[in-house]
Symmetry: C2
Subunit: 398 residues, 2 copies
Amino acid sequence: MTDPLRPTHLGTMRERNLALVLGGIARHQPVTRARLAELTGLTKTTVAAQVTTLEGLRLVSGALPVRGGGRGRPGAPVSLAPGPVAGLGLEVNGHYLAACVLDLTHAVRLRESVACDNGGREPHETVAALAALARRITDRAGDAGITLVGTAVALPGVTVEDHVNAPNLGWEAVPASALLADALPAQALGIEVDNEANLGALGELWYGAGRGAGSYLYLSGEIGIGAGIVFDGELFRGGHGAAGELGHVVVDPDGPACRCGGTGCLEQVAGLDAVLRAAGVPDGTGRCEPRLTELLRRLDDRDHHALEAVDAAGRGLAVALVGAVNLLDPDTVVLGGSHARLAPWLIPPIEKAIALGGGKLRGRTPVLRASTLGAESAVRGAAGTVLTRILADPLAIA
Amino acid sequence: MTDPLRPTHLGTMRERNLALVLGGIARHQPVTRARLAELTGLTKTTVAAQVTTLEGLRLVSGALPVRGGGRGRPGAPVSLAPGPVAGLGLEVNGHYLAACVLDLTHAVRLRESVACDNGGREPHETVAALAALARRITDRAGDAGITLVGTAVALPGVTVEDHVNAPNLGWEAVPASALLADALPAQALGIEVDNEANLGALGELWYGAGRGAGSYLYLSGEIGIGAGIVFDGELFRGGHGAAGELGHVVVDPDGPACRCGGTGCLEQVAGLDAVLRAAGVPDGTGRCEPRLTELLRRLDDRDHHALEAVDAAGRGLAVALVGAVNLLDPDTVVLGGSHARLAPWLIPPIEKAIALGGGKLRGRTPVLRASTLGAESAVRGAAGTVLTRILADPLAIA
DNA sequence: ACGATTAAGTCCAATGTATGTACTAAACAG
DNA sequence: CTGTTTAGTACATACATTGGACTTAATCGT
């Protein structure tokens, strides 16, 4: 083990307090310097100095003075600057590419997505298409006077030693970071790559159904099933960054064999492919989206096979989630991906199972919700991580 | 959400660097000031000042100079002071009470335990017995010139709003912290209460089978089955401090009903009571220990019922652990409690199941080991948490 | 054996951040 | 208009780390 701690010197102290003040502004804007001093525990003098620095970085700007507040001199509140500084989120998925620009106030400034089949082509083609999308977005950002200060890319795969394995894209040990650094336009600075389930979890936590949850579990259900685990606002990545493989939890020891080598994995029971097959929805073009729509139509029509298939998926998810809930004790569980759209049929049986299994011993059971951002959670989460990066270390953008 | 961050002022900086230097000494003792400066990134001047402070706190002391090292002036190495400062760990369990004193070098200075049936008596009686044990230990510590600077107590239960629920002790909403603060001798300062599985996990991580693991899972198997989850050296407590209820993971959806309300919980298959019952070991006096010994004897004799019962337990544990491993991706899994003694029969089937289920996709599978501290892991862990408290904030002991 | 060299530890002025007090500015209450 | 209250600013002060000069103590080369 190396020494994990770093020395604290004068500059470190300043950085930390700068981030503290910026965080205070972010959470309480518009806010006066005096109130910030109370909130942060720093003195008025210090806060004023830090705010001046932040204004120089164009991260905060003066808001309209609030008149008629109370007795003394009215404060001159400051807020996060909605204008110049923003983060770029990108996403590669099996069926589409997406981009999204969030400014410091977490407002979506720009967004764009392209439907295309990324599973059927070479990594460099996909990366080139993403780069084209990114160029369009960065050009639009430039026109709008927005300065992008960081980029995060969501991929449906796991990074192992700088190489990405993404089965649904057909990627094996692809040096994604290097490819992206070459292909993306120069305005896309500080590129970071992360798992789509992880970033989706954060997107849903910050902007969607997970808002306000202290600890929560996000279930990203597509063909495979992944989970994003958030604890105290931070992602739990596990020992090797591969936590959250909920898809291969055993839900039925006597169930069907899985490509992972086990038997009765959740994916074989509640993965989208498995559900569609069990419901008897025909293969069609091979694209999932229309098949999912067809499944939803049949569910609305109370088709017996469809209902039975979704019910079985619900039972499987319930077993897996009871295990996960007992192990992790989250506040909130959010169903994302395709499973968000099946939520009306999935949530009741799962809630019942969680209430029965172990919840009784612990007092409270987690709230179960469907994703509210739909397909957008991962891009939003990606752009959001850039913002938290800025909030944590404001000087890094200079 | 409140503002989680605190302001950093000059004193904070000093505290952090003091802890940094102390940590450097702890990990590299004996070590010279010059080497510490390299390790910490601080200057020689600062390190020297901090070391002087630490000597004043009696936390470090000069070691023997190493002669014949290299060219220039030989350094005057310092080490953690083995003498004065130490932490006290206490444990209440169904069948015994235990105490243990660790000095800063993590050496066991004193230890003592008492067998007694704590499940069959009132909380205040158990606390009084623990206090008597603690008094003996603190007296011995005083005689040996040891100053105790903190206390941690391991209980087989969960703390909910300052009240402890411990089914195996028959405790329901017992205000344990308050009782202990009253009953324990004055030398037992800064009393903290934590779950036995959590502290056992830390004990095993620091001093036992988990040493060197970055992320790991500790399974505390007695009548119930709990888990301690450690990630980057820190306990994962979950949303409400009740993470790790592995005992109620569903391992067989068609299995027997459990007192938690669910069906097919791990505890019903692999809990000690369940195994003993399945193996046909008679109830005897009701105490577990002799029954476990009897079970081990039968296993050695290749008794058919015993082997079958333990094998079933292994299969159940395998299902639960495959789930936990997929979700958490730990380096190492340690079997503790009674299950450590059954490990020779349990580990092979579990390892096979983990290798099959999901491990294939991820490349590496965690190492599976039996606890090496046996019944002592929780007390050791308790005393150890006191030490880490000191290392993290050396000034707090003054 | 003696000086040159190398490295550890200490002394002290310099740097830079937060603090505290005093001061100015701007609103409201009477 | 005057007194009161609160926001923000100016400036001297306190204090932890820094960096360079200095002292101390060992080995190496001759």
